[in-house]
């Protein structure tokens, strides 16, 4: 394959989860002011979409950067099993100490997927709603979008 060109595989996954934006480092009033209705005490939920971008050499035998079955199983195990139909605050240890904003969610998902053995994780893009989306590429500057 020509090294002049770079190929990426993009795959979207869906999960639904609840969260509450609240930090013990702020007072009740400040939490309410900063986070607005996202600070409501019993939390609320979203249908999240996670877009995973992987790069690598296309195997001439399969035409693939990575076998989708392998990628799907990895994302299922590393992210979806633990996040889908859960409370991010209560069920995901990383968010006991950190506010489960979608910025932090992007970083957490990136950390969980960067060890995929068969391709290089370029970036994670998360849509919290159709109107809000976030992206994280780690230290991989080339992975950042213009």
């Amino acid at each position: 394959m020509s090294r002049a060109l770079k190929i990426e595989l993009g795959r979207r996954y869906h999960f639904s989860a609840s969260h509450r934006l609240h930090t013990p480092q702020l007072s009740e009033e400040e939490n309410c002011r900063v986070f607005g209705k996202c600070n409501n005490p019993y939390g609320h939920g979203h249908n999240y979409i996670v877009e995973v971008s992987m790069s690598g050499d296309v195997d001439p035998a399969t035409g693939m950067i990575a076998n989708l079955a392998d990628l799907d199983a990895f994302v299922e195990r590393q992210v979806l099993e633990e996040f889908d139909h859960k409370s991010l605050n209560e069920d995901v240890p990383a968010f006991r100490e950190r506010v489960p904003t979608t910025e932090n969610l992007c970083i957490e998902i990136f950390q969980r997927l960067k060890s995929f053995p068969k391709a290089k994780l370029e970036r994670i893009h998360v849509e919290e709603t159709g109107n809000n989306s976030f992206e994280y590429a780690g230290d991989n500057r080339e992975g950042n979008q213009p």
């Binding site: 770079k6 993009g10 795959r11 996954y13 001439p60 399969t62």
Partner: protein, 143 residues
């Protein structure tokens, strides 16, 4: 720099099968994409061109011209075709999103004479796509 993206859709059939592998290996690697009579998708192609707008026309590239290039290079070759049997550029390759995106890049790149091709993104379904761009460019463009 301004980025201009045009989207087109085409429908085609394909099958994943490598004649150098056994029946069992083909089945294991490609799963139902290996079914003998193939299957099809509605593909969505997004082509992004980068450049500075012409001071007279205000355009990076005349969209009419891009539309004609896409019609000639992609639609006529691939729309309502079987990608394994009817697209010469894919002969001997498994017609995955990755390979089709690269072939489309190679077809389009020399035809774009105003601005330059920045990214080809090909969706096989809303949840699966491949990007092709110049290595080292800040490629993955705008979603």
């Amino acid at each position: 720099m301004v980025f201009l993206t045009r989207k087109i859709e085409f429908s085609a059939s394909h099958r994943y099968h490598n004649p150098n592998l056994s029946v069992e290996e083909n089945r294991r690697i490609f799963g139902k994409c290996n079914n003998p009579h193939g299957h099809g998708h509605n593909y969505t192609l997004q082509v992004t061109i980068e450049g500075e707008p012409d001071p007279v026309t205000g355009m990076v590239l005349d969209l009419k011209e891009l539309k004609e290039i896409l019609e000639r290079e992609v639609m006529q070759r691939m729309d309502h075709r079987h990608l394994n049997y009817e697209v010469a550029e894919l002969a001997g390759q498994i017609p995955t999103c990755e390979n089709i995106a690269r072939v489309i890049w190679q077809l389009l790149e020399p035809k774009i004479t105003q601005g330059r091709l920045q990214r080809v993104r090909l969706y096989e379904s809303p949840d699966l796509f491949a990007d092709c761009y110049r290595n080292g460019s800040n490629g993955a463009g705008k979603s």
